[in-house]
């Protein structure tokens, strides 16, 4: 990974997204893959990591252990039934149960990927599957059991790539003939300690367990850096006690990096107080640790001026993530990432601003909106070309509403990724004051447009959070 922060690590949500990371491999700092994705498609994931982890592009495996913990659902009920790692599955009926036309039945059972992960890690994940009950802090009171768990999770991350590749007959023969090839397989850039969501009603217990997990993993004396993940509700950014625990305890764990994940922390909607609290936490932790935002956007990138090392997010979304799973959501439209606003917007809201901002030609568009390769290839003959970013079609005869065409979604994703990488490069060189100035300028121009007024209010909040923090950090 590049020595100069911030780095951008792309989180792979599915193999349908591999096209994006493969095309941008030489520009990315890294990729992060969930262990559940690895277990869902081991061969494809291992092959992708092998292709991606070259040069300065590194990889991480998120062990996803939090998925075996508890959470509060949207109705406020504390859930420990592990339902969210289950799915409705079609199974063949027993012979004696067969009916005339129904040979299968639907049962709700654990997803194969999580079941496989639990089998590879062992206790306490396998036990939670067997009992159909989430892991509780009380399951890990024994230091020996906890150390065993940490060892298994670390072992999984360091060996999963080679073990999958060894199962490929051709590769196994090749490795047997040339062991150095096997030895040259890339290792993850860091090993994550197991982690669980700091469920707000029992956050102190979870925080204590998570810190013990980090300490135990750091004690394994791995030849790789050990990182931790803090997964907590956004409300904890308003909780000085919780933040104090992080500030005082994380540096003592022996890990070298921490990835922050405040569930439902939407950078563009969060009040200044939360943005400031987040920035202060980054500034404090970065004195002794490499600090990342696991699901971050532009503000997090800008917080590199306060010490943030990097961010990760998905290829077309994922700059925030709710720890509570969203079930049954339709495919969202991939909106156009508007670089001056550092935020996605509808094509029409943007197009409505062109005249007032003196954008009358493709050249103006490239100068004032975006000049990435995608935009230069799309907005060519006239400004009307811009509308192709929002192209719609009726995807199936049954569709009631038009949906974004796959081509338009792809354009928006590539444009977003290229813009994000350009932002990274710019932030690496820009001063905190220059970033704040750019946000102010965008607010004074784009933020005054009637279709974007309400969508631009984050800009001054970001500016003041960065300014306040910049001043504090320098004193």
């Amino acid at each position: 990974m590049s020595a100069k922060p911030p780095s951008v690590v792309i989180r792979l949500g599915s193999h349908a997204e591999k096209e994006y990371v493969l095309k941008l491999q030489s520009l990315l700092d890294g990729i992060i893959v969930g262990a559940n994705l690895f277990e869902a498609s081991p061969g494809a994931t291992a092959s992708l990591i092998r292709r991606m982890a070259r040069g300065s592009c590194v990889y991480f495996i998120d062990p996803m252990t939090y998925a075996f913990g508890t959470y509060k659902d949207r109705d406020g009920a504390l859930r420990d039934d592990l339902d969210w790692i289950k799915s409705d599955q079609q199974i063949n009926k027993q012979e004696n149960q067969k009916e005339k036309d129904q040979k299968t039945e639907t049962v709700r059972d654990f997803k194969r990927s999580y079941r496989a992960l639990s089998e590879k890690i062992g206790f306490p994940l396998n036990e939670s599957i067997r009992r159909k009950r989430a892991v509780h802090p009380s399951d890990l009171t024994s230091d020996d059991a906890l150390a065993e768990f940490c060892h298994a999770v670390a072992h999984y991350q360091t060996t999963r790539l080679s073990s999958v590749l060894q199962q490929d007959e051709l590769l196994a023969k090749l490795f047997a003939r040339a062991p150095s090839l096997a030895a040259d397989l890339p290792s993850p850039a860091a090993v994550f300690a197991p982690y669980f969501y700091n469920e707000p009603t029992t956050a102190a217990e979870w925080a204590s367990l998570n810190i013990r997990l980090m300490k135990a993993t750091a004690k394994l004396n791995l030849r790789l850096p050990v990182h931790g993940i803090v997964s907590a509700d956004v409300s904890h950014l308003d909780d000085p006690t919780f933040l104090r625990i992080l500030r005082t305890e994380l540096p003592k764990t022996g890990i070298s990096g921490i990835w922050l994940w405040f569930s439902r922390f939407l950078e563009d909607q969060a009040p200044t107080e939360q943005l400031t609290a987040f920035g202060q936490l980054v500034a404090d932790l970065s004195k002794s640790l490499a600090v990342y935002n696991l699901h971050g956007g532009f503000l997090s990138l800008a917080l590199s001026s306060l010490g943030l090392t990097g961010i990760s997010h998905g290829v077309g979304y994922g700059e925030q993530k709710d720890v509570i799973p969203v079930i049954g959501q339709s495919t969202p439209t991939v909106r156009f990432y508007l670089p001056p606003l550092r935020k996605r917007q509808g094509v029409l809201e943007i197009e409505r601003c062109f005249k007032a901002l003196g954008i009358a030609s493709p050249e103006d568009f490239h100068a004032k909106v975006c000049d990435c390769v995608v935009c230069r290839g799309v907005v060519v003959k006239s400004l009307a070309d811009f509308s192709t970013f929002g192209e719609l079609h009726i995807s199936t005869p049954q569709s009631k509403r038009p949906a974004q065409t796959p081509a338009a979604a792809k354009r928006c994703r590539f444009h977003f990724l290229l813009t994000r990488l350009a932002e990274r490069d710019w932030v690496r060189e820009a001063s905190g004051a220059a970033i704040v100035r750019a946000l102010d300028e965008a607010f004074e121009t784009w933020g005054k447009q009637p279709t974007l007024v309400s969508q631009s209010q984050h800009l001054p909040r970001w500016g003041s959070a960065l300014e306040g923090k910049t001043r504090k950090a320098s004193t």
Binding site: G346, L348, E349, R352, A384, P450
Partner: protein
């Protein structure tokens, strides 16, 4: 008549606009992620008109109407007459967006006239004109 749904505003507004030389019309026309409640075309003036129907929330209607200015020459918000009292008419006028009040009897009145939109993009407008002309045969 008390209007309980936006749909109830459609017929009186549609008839009113037909009398204003916008006889070629269609309702619920998709425009990217939204749907234009009523879109009309005046062949002799070669002008198009879009209407957002709302019972109460005029600010939300304004957001929609601002976008419709991209595809229509004239854009109106139509509301029950009683609800128009709360509308910031100066703000609408400043954006060139018109306001139609629909009385309980169904009688429509232009309270703020729409202005020709400087924002209209021919690539959107012409596509809708062709669509409406095709439908009207």
């Amino acid at each position: 008549m008390t209007f309980r749904s936006e749909r109830q505003l459609l017929d009186p507004v549609s008839a009113f606009l037909a009398r204003q030389r916008f006889p070629i019309q269609d309702a619920e026309i998709p425009f990217y992620e939204s749907r234009i409640d009523l879109y009309g075309y005046s062949e002799d003036q070669h002008l198009t008109l879009a209407v957002e129907l709302k019972l109460k929330n005029w600010q939300r209607a304004l957001k929609q109407a601002l976008l419709y200015q991209l595809c229509s020459d004239l854009t109106y918000i139509a509301m029950p007459l009683a609800a128009t009292r709360n509308v910031d008419r100066e703000l609408l006028a400043a954006q060139g967006i018109g306001l139609i009040g629909v009385g309980d009897s169904g009688r429509c009145r232009v309270l703020v006239p729409a202005e020709l939109s400087p924002e209209t993009r021919s690539h959107y407008k012409e596509a809708y004109v062709a669509f409406l002309k095709g439908r009207s045969g």
